[in-house]
């Protein structure tokens, strides 16, 4: 096969080199000609990626009134035949804030002359939101082949809500040059910050600043891998007008300013109406156990009763609908649900704060350059009294927030997370607590191994004929419960089948005679009880061994490390705790040997004892560390082997 690759690639290179027409004759713009003339030649080997981006450039030219002209240019060299998706240039914009959207595309093929695409561009709505102004402009070129150069250009005039701009460098393929250029009117000041990676200071030419990165490697998506977005360098810039300037868009000089501005557009939406009071009272009627219980019940009401429907038209992308409207319709998006929760709590005299946070990407918040682009989600923080101990079941979602005191973080949009737990999407993120002039950045609690627990209890009886009857109770808490709940509610049948498959891998042909689920116990746990029966097959000797902790390792996913070059990142820390009792084992059966091991950020321990015909065994694996860099893969393998030893005990079930 190697011979075929090399031979073919040589033919490709020779053919392309011979066929490339003079760039000067091509009908492409000057900026593209300059790139085409300097484009690298394609080597004899088949390249490792389908394309290379020669230039990825965003230019923002700010007008004195705060609006800005946005221009994006991208030059792509097609390296292989599987580069089809790069024939389409995409430009995401907001129909409300963007005007005069223009797009152009050119193709300089390896044969023939370059030309501009004259077909209509297509504006599509790709967002999952129910109603949205978000559009994506598609413009395409035809018939690309290895050696083609493709150029896209998009322009728009933007009337921003705030005078900041967030941009990421790198686009999932190799990028030779990525550049962001900002030009401001005289007298304006510019602040910037790099996130995810160190970046250069800008090159300053008068009122123009240019930030440029070169040779950006593509970021691969891998199982148990880091979020690719969080590995792309991210630049946030703020452009502040002179104090006396009248501009559209707010200047965010600090985070307090952002908090105050957001309150100015959203604060009135929390107005309490009689209907809200009545709804809140109905919930609180049996809530004599105190403010915390009332808060949790109210949050649960909003989480469960208000269905997620996002109507994000115009300023509606930032400004919640009035709480009264959300209650009346019983639908809304994250900020609508959070606003209703705040209003209901307020009607009962409970103070709360909105919290802006980013649900999908880590480290989007700069401490020095505030921007609305840092956030895409809205949750609620409820102050807890400082003099009362925090109950265990909510301690994982509680954070000390300086002058704002101790806060319970509640996400009423997450229908699967128990109130009092914090999803792994939010754990460790930085959010902006909206408390007007007290608004402040707060780091949400990191998840703890103890908060995300799987506890499994097995009681099994081996009959004289080799039949095994067992009851397996699995109790999940924290993120593990959230995920199981989502799987169960989305597809109960699929959940049952997945359980059966997982058990069958360990106890082949096991039949689940009955399976019940309590999908949210009072303490937020997800409890699954299965009655199992394993009958020996006629004509086949019954297995001699029985796994004592069935399905245990399913809770600690693994990945192949053979070719892995990037960190393994667990989405949340966890504790796996198993206890098993097996009656009816043959006389004289030795207990499986116990084991104890630990390492950097993990431990695994097991023990077992036999008394008469009964085996009692327990096992615990604790993973408090989430991240293993490639140089820690040996440590990770040690963990996996130790976990396998701690949970892989078998007991002899027949002589």
């Amino acid at each position: 096969m190697r011979g075929l690759v090399s031979r073919t690639a040589c033919v490709v290179a020779v053919v392309i080199a011979a066929a490339m027409p003079p760039v000067a004759e091509a009908r492409i713009p000057d900026w593209a000609k300059a790139i085409a003339e300097a484009a690298p030649t394609i080597g004899p080997e088949i390249p490792p990626e389908p394309t290379r981006v020669l230039l990825d450039e965003t230019t923002v030219t700010v007008q004195p009134d705060g609006r800005y002209e946005l221009r994006m240019r991208r030059a792509i060299q097609v390296l292989r035949s599987d580069a089809g998706r790069f024939r389409i240039g995409k430009f995401h914009y907001d129909e409300t804030t963007c005007d005069k959207v223009r797009s152009r595309a050119w193709h300089l093929p390896p044969f023939g002359r370059g030309r501009r695409n004259r077909e209509d561009a297509v504006d599509v709505t790709l967002s999952d939101d129910f109603l949205t102004d978000s559009r994506t402009r598609w413009v395409h070129v035809d018939d690309t082949a290895p050696g083609s150069l493709v150029f896209f250009e998009f322009e728009a005039v933007v009337t921003p809500y705030d005078l900041t701009y967030d941009t990421s460098f790198g686009v999932g393929v190799r990028v030779d040059r990525s550049r962001f250029t900002l030009t401001t009117p005289p007298g304006w000041t510019v602040r910037f910050d790099w996130l995810h990676a160190d970046g250069p200071d800008p090159e300053v030419r008068g009122e123009t600043r240019i930030w440029e990165l070169r040779d950006l490697e593509p970021v691969a998506v891998e199982p148990l891998g880091e979020d690719p977005n969080a590995r792309q360098p991210r630049l946030v810039v703020a452009f502040d007008p002179p104090a006396d300037a009248r501009v559209s868009g707010v200047a965010l000089r600090d985070w307090t300013a952002l908090g105050s501005w957001f309150e100015s557009i959203a604060g009135d939406r929390r107005a309490v109406t009689p209907a809200i009071s009545e709804a809140a009272k109905g919930i609180a009627a049996d809530g004599e156990a105190g403010a915390l219980r009332r808060t949790r019940e109210t949050a649960k009401f909003v989480r469960d009763r208000v269905r997620y429907v996002a109507k994000e038209l115009g300023i509606g992308g930032l400004r919640p609908h009035p709480a009264s409207e959300v209650l009346e319709h019983l639908y809304g998006d994250c900020k609508d649900k959070a606003t209703l929760l705040q209003a209901m709590l307020a009607s009962e005299g409970q103070r709360s704060y909105g919290v802006l946070v980013n649900l999908t990407t880590n480290d989007t918040v700069s401490s020095s350059v505030p921007s609305m682009g840092a956030f895409n989600h809205f949750i609620v923080a409820v102050p807890l009294p400082a003099d009362v101990p925090v109950p265990n079941e909510v301690s994982g979602a509680t954070v000390e927030a300086g002058s704002l005191g101790r806060l319970l973080i509640v996400d009423p949009t997450d229908e699967y997370a128990a109130i009092g737990t914090l999803s792994s999407d939010l754990a460790g993120k930085t959010g902006l607590v909206l408390a007007d002039r007290q608004s402040a950045l707060v780091r949400l609690p990191e998840g703890r191994a103890e908060d995300n627990r799987v506890e499994r209890r097995l009681e099994a009886e081996i009959g004289p004929d080799g039949t095994i009857a067992a009851t397996l109770v699995t109790t999940r808490r924290g993120e593990s419960a959230t995920r199981a709940r989502r799987a169960w509610r989305d597809d109960a049948e699929g959940f049952r089948k997945a359980t059966a498959r997982a058990l069958d891998d360990v106890w082949p042909r096991v039949a689940i005679e009955d399976q019940t689920v309590e999908d949210e116990a009072a303490d937020g746990a997800f409890v699954e009880t299965a009655r199992l029966r394993l009958v020996p097959l006629r004509g086949v000797p019954a297995p001699k061994l029985l796994a004592v902790f069935p399905g245990a390792l399913g809770e600690l996913p693994r990945v192949s490390l053979g070719r892995r070059e990037t960190a393994v990142v667990y989405e949340y820390p966890r504790t796996l705790r198993y206890a098993s009792v097996v009656h009816g084992i043959p006389e004289g059966t030795p207990a499986p040997s116990g084991d104890e091991a630990s390492g950097d950020g993990w431990s695994a321990v097991s023990q077992a004892a036999v008394e008469g015909d009964t085996l009692t065994a327990s096992s615990e694996v604790v993973l408090s560390r989430r991240r293993f860099e490639p140089d820690a893969f040996r440590e990770l393998k040690k963990l996996w082997v130790a976990a396998r030893r701690a949970t892989g005990a078998d007991v002899q079930v027949r002589p």
Partner: protein, 666 residues
């Protein structure tokens, strides 16, 4: 009147009328759309409906779904729709988020109602004015939009009821409506009034055991169903279109009838094939190039020679490898005559290679033609639906001169990479359409027997690193169908994706790291495809203190037999193809252990297949020989229990262990 733009037009030169044909109605007879809102209060029956997961009622029940499609309005069509459902869980509330797709320029919503009936009887109305317009896609002046509405106050226990009448231009040339959904449907009605100027037809399929009736009344096709349960999903079942009840509505070409469609189509295509394959110049060139002497050779020799020539000389444009696709083609356009073009450029499509074979066969006076076939992993060919769009490919059928229709014909897939006389497994099992001078005729496509597709695996398993890990090293090769699909898939993958795929074939995964993985003979269809693997597993801890260590000998070096669930089976069990798997494995004892007694040999023989397991003790460990012969590609639900029992036993033996005793060898 033109087809509406967002549907797929039926390709083909098709002809005709229906498993039930529809007599053309009188022109442009205007019909009142019989679509009306449901009652504004819950009926007693609706009130009583509750979730009953054991009986498949979990999130919602569709109480009424009614559609009336009138395409006989001159240039326009009108669609009336009524949906009423009881919501039983939070997850089902999303059905109250309504979208009505339409073209911005000619779509017009005539009628709308939408309401939520709360458990306490309160009715929350959503007026037409609350519908909001969402652009979906816009290009130039063309814009496709959706009118959207979220019904208010939806909670478990409520009933939602909404509907509309939409007018727009055009018609749907071919439409498939599934009659079973994820939720049970209490009452279903679909009424279609086709355009009067074109013959139309419909076909109901997979309705066995369901309360579904159809009739044609006043030139309308009316399909009514009651208590339609969600379809049963089972492993190894036929593809979705073959197990879900569906209604197909379509138009036939003008001037054709339902009865004559396949006849006319066959005649038309046969003439086309004859025109291309019987021209003297073409026949002469073909025989010359392939060095076939029509006077001295037999038909069989000539066909085998042509088949081999295609294998050796022709690059099939649809089977190009990733590397071949990188070659920049200045002029990849074919000439007017596909056969002569194939001879000249040695490149061509499956259609061209088929025509070449037909030319050779007809030169020997054999009756040879095309047979149109469907990929059974997608759907089967249904002769009751008069549409050529059902087919995915063509093969060659040859009947010797003087043979009768009852004689078994020769079916060939030239250029496929398969041995002479075999066809790709995905075309076997269903029916194909044989093209003859008398018209089109359905013909069942045969399966090859298991002996022609043999997978062979040979390797070693040994512990290393002081019993810390287990290393398996083996080579897998296959004949016949075994490597066909995999070879095609691997060839099309980019180098990096191919590496990932080969790793997966070697069992790479959470528990195993691939030390080396290689594929051989990928570009030589005549040689068996070989995959050579070496993997390391660290999840088999050896307890060095134990007297006895039991090792499961199975691993990625055998293909795991499918696990079939207990209970009643509704659909046939469908395997890809009959095949034989042979494995020979040498297993070395862990360090500090010696082999114990070898388990007894096993042999299972059933109508479904045969299984043999022979384990031999050696000085250093064991040798394991396993054979699994899966004979039947399709097993009826009646035989499910027996099949499951066979596969369970195979799985159980595959999970058996090799005993090693603590102690030093020798």
């Amino acid at each position: 009147m033109t087809p509406i733009r967002w549907t797929f037009a039926v390709a083909a030169v098709a002809v005709c009328a229906a498993a039930s044909a529809v007599t053309p109605p009188r022109a442009a007879e205007r019909t009142k759309l019989r679509i009306e809102p449901g009652p504004t209060a819950m009926t007693a029956e609706e009130k009583a409906l509750e979730a009953d997961p054991e009986n498949g009622v979990r999130d919602a029940v569709i109480l009424v779904e009614e559609t009336f499609r009138d395409e006989d309005l001159g240039e326009d069509m009108a669609t009336g729709y009524h949906f009423r459902a009881k919501i039983l869980s939070n997850e089902a509330r999303a059905v109250a988020d309504i979208e009505i797709p339409m073209y911005a320029d000619d779509g017009k919503l005539d009628t709308w109602w939408g309401r939520t009936i709360l458990p306490d009887g309160t009715v929350l109305e959503l007026p037409k004015s609350a519908l909001e317009r969402q652009s979906v896609a816009k290009a130039g002046r063309d814009e496709f939009i959706a009118l959207k509405a979220a019904l208010p106050g939806v909670v478990p226990g409520c009933v939602i009821d909404y509907g509309w009448v939409l007018r727009e231009s055009g018609y749907l040339p071919f439409d498939r409506i599934e009659l079973q959904r994820d939720w049970p449907i209490k009452s279903f009605r679909y009424e279609w009034k086709p355009y009067s100027q074109r013959p139309a037809a419909y076909k109901l399929s997979r309705t066995e055991g369901l309360d579904i009736k159809s009739q044609v009344e006043h030139q309308h096709i009316v399909v009514v169903g009651h208590d339609l349960a969600p379809p049963v999903v089972e492993p190894l079942m036929p593809p979705k279109p073959e197990v879900r009840a569906a209604l197909v509505l379509y138009y036939l070409p003008i001037g054709t009838t339902f009865e004559s469609y396949w006849g006319n189509m066959g005649v038309f295509l046969d003439r086309f094939v004859t025109y291309l394959t019987e021209r003297k110049r073409t026949v002469k060139r073909v025989l010359q190039t392939l060095e076939i002497d029509a006077k001295k050779s037999s038909l069989d020799d000539a066909l085998r020679k042509a088949y081999a020539w295609i294998d050796a000389n022709v690059e099939r444009s649809d089977l190009r490898s990733f590397e071949e696709l990188q070659q920049v083609q200045r002029d990849d356009k074919s000439g007017k005559d596909p056969i002569l073009d194939l001879l000249e450029r040695r490149k061509g499509s499956a259609f061209s290679t088929d025509l070449l074979m037909i030319t050779v066969a007809r030169a020997f006076d054999a009756r040879a033609s095309l047979i149109f076939v469907a990929d059974r992993t997608e759907s089967l060919f249904d002769i009751g639906i008069r549409a050529m769009s059902q087919f995915d490919g063509t093969l060659v059928i040859v009947r010797e001169k003087g043979s009768t229709i009852r004689d078994r014909p020769l079916i060939l897939a030239p250029g496929s990479g398969l041995p002479y006389g075999e066809i790709p497994w995905w075309y076997s099992g269903g029916e194909g359409l044989e093209i003859t001078e008398g018209g089109g005729r359905a013909l069942t496509m045969p399966f090859a027997d298991s002996a022609s597709s043999v997978a062979k695996r040979e390797g070693t398993v040994a512990f290393s690193d002081g019993n810390f890990s287990l290393v398996g090293k083996w080579t897998e090769s296959g004949t016949g169908q075994v490597a066909l699909a995999e070879r095609r898939r691997l060839r099309k993958l980019s180098p990096e994706d191919r590496t990932k795929r080969i790793d997966r074939l070697c069992g790479a995964g959470p528990e195993r790291d691939v030390l080396s993985a290689e594929v051989r003979n990928l570009d030589d269809p005549k040689a068996p495809l070989e995959v050579a693997c070496e993997v390391e597993a660290t999840d088999v801890p050896v307890d060095d203190t134990a007297d006895v260590y039991l090792l499961h000998w199975s691993g990625p070096w055998i293909e795991e037999v499918p696990t079939l669930p207990e209970g009643e089976r509704h659909n046939a069990v469908v395997f890809d193809y009959p095949r034989v798997e042979r494995m020979h494995l040498a297993v070395a004892a862990p360090e500090g252990f010696v082999p114990g007694e070898a388990p007894d040999a096993v042999r299972l023989d059933t109508p479904f297949g045969r299984y043999e397991l022979r384990i031999t003790r050696t000085d250093s460990g064991f040798e394991v020989d396993r054979t699994l012969d899966l004979r039947l590609p399709v097993v009826r639900p009646d035989d499910y229990r027996l099949l499951r029992s066979f596969l369970d036993r195979v799985a159980e033996w595959d999970r058996s262990t090799l005993p090693f005793r603590h102690g030093e060898a020798g």
